[in-house]
């Protein structure tokens, strides 16, 4: 559904803004045809697009292991997981389109480097254990990020997030199960699991939650103010519900006991329980650490984008064939024989007969 301006009598900017602010204040959702401030629309498009890009780029590190899974069972699970990630991207592109952008344009922007995916995935999955660590840690981080997004103020985004969250729970559990199996295996397998956690901990804790946005997160006052300004705006609009650092803390608190049960060590010597705060302390993610984790313009960031572009170009013939088929037969497919003129067929096909057919086929009538 495209976002068309409503054809009502023009209201003053102040009235429209008051109505919008009222919706946000009441905890109601903003829906596609509602008036919204340009800044809100821009911030929402930016966030949903970045999220969508991250889902499809995020398929790559695990996807690389599909042909090398150690058993048919693990392979089936991984295929289902990677397929879900593609699906999450599609839910989100669909939500983004309700804001008046075209998904082909968003993909172009990704391919041309004008928009980015999360830098979390600009790291290689070197061993089989990486697929488990990614699912346990980065999907675990995603769940903590996305659970509050199920109540984000933009309706289509919130609804997409609810679908995504239902599926993420499976992702995290299968990843944890994979890690536990390795940890209960040979010393080499356990070492492999530890090695993968050593590599994926920082991308998860630093990059999945965004830059530091509170002084408590370890940023100096100026840097915190920078991050906080963006967060404050997003929170005032009900786009975000928590600061990056708050969610980061929640993530660390949830991972520590899980790692203990696995018998794995999270690679941060500063992690310890702080009785006073009621939280685990950990090495603060300051801007230096954040930038170091970003890995911008590294081999792997280029690799992810090149792979994505190649996949898109390799699929061009399918899209062209599909378009040619539709151009020849119309959106309803080839007519039944004897074939009438496709022009009149598409017009006749849109009449009552077609409606009846839909109902019959969908079992609406006995």
């Amino acid at each position: 559904m495209s976002a068309r301006p409503t054809g009502t009598t023009p209201a003053s900017q102040d009235e429209l803004l008051a109505h919008f602010d009222g919706l946000i204040a009441a905890g109601e959702t903003v829906e596609p045809r509602d008036w919204m401030p340009d800044g809100y629309r821009r911030m929402m498009i930016r966030q949903v697009a970045q999220h969508a890009h991250s889902e499809i780029i995020g398929m790559q590190p695990e996807g690389a292991w599909l042909t090398r899974a150690p058993s048919l069972y693990r392979k089936s699970v991984l295929i289902a997981k990677v397929q879900d990630e593609a699906g999450h991207g599609m839910y989100l592109y669909s939500a983004a389109e309700t804001l008046g952008v075209d998904r082909a344009a968003l993909l172009d922007a990704l391919h041309q480097g004008q928009q980015r995916a999360s830098a979390t995935f600009n790291h290689p999955a070197l061993t089989w254990a990486d697929t488990g660590a990614i699912a346990w840690l980065t999907d675990g981080a995603a769940v903590i990020n996305q659970a509050p997004l199920c109540r984000t103020s933009y309706g289509p985004y919130a609804r997409a997030m609810r679908r995504v969250c239902q599926e993420e729970a499976f992702h995290v559990r299968q990843g944890y199960d994979l890690m536990r199996t390795l940890c209960e295996g040979t010393p080499e397998q356990k070492a492999m699991a530890q090695d993968a956690v050593d590599r994926w901990w920082l991308p998860a804790v630093a990059l999945m939650f965004g830059p530091p946005d509170t002084e408590a997160g370890g940023a100096d006052a100026r840097a915190a103010a920078l991050g906080a300004a963006v967060s404050r705006r997003a929170m005032a609009w009900g786009i975000k519900r928590h600061t990056n650092d708050e969610l980061r803390q929640r993530f660390v608190d949830s991972c520590v006991p899980q790692a203990e049960r696995l018998g794995l060590v999270l690679p941060d010597p500063a992690i310890r329980w702080n009785e006073e705060r009621g939280h685990h302390d950990f090495t603060p993610v300051d801007w230096d650490l954040y930038r170091a984790a970003l890995g911008e313009d590294t081999h792997w960031s280029r690799q992810r984008l090149a792979h994505r572009r190649a996949a898109h170009e390799d699929g061009a013939w399918v899209r062209e064939a599909s378009a040619a088929y539709a151009a020849r037969f119309g959106a309803d497919g080839p007519p039944p024989p004897p074939a009438p003129d496709p022009e009149t067929a598409s017009k006749a096909g849109a009449g009552p007969a077609a409606v009846e057919d839909v109902r019959g086929g969908a079992g609406e009538r006995a």
Partner: protein, 103 residues
Amino acid sequence: MSRRTEGAPASWEVFLRPRRGLNHQHVGSVRAADADTALLRARDLYTRRGDPLSLWVVRSDAVHAASPDERDPFFAGAHHKPYRYPEHFPPLTEKGADGDHLD
């Protein structure tokens, strides 16, 4: 790649009947050049779990919409017609303002 933008396939709204006893519900949209492909994409995207009973796809540009708007009289609602609601009338077991209604 810019040629792709020009030739982006049509948008289709997807409606799913998730289980018996429920209406078809709008779940999102897919892009496809024709109805059969749209159904396949909708199946792959929206029915990977559960036991869905039926799927509809409708061209997005075939949806004619009206939305409530603070200045739009399209939806008059029934705010000025309280008699459309049962609460407007006394219940059958209690005394109303005008006396007994134990009819």
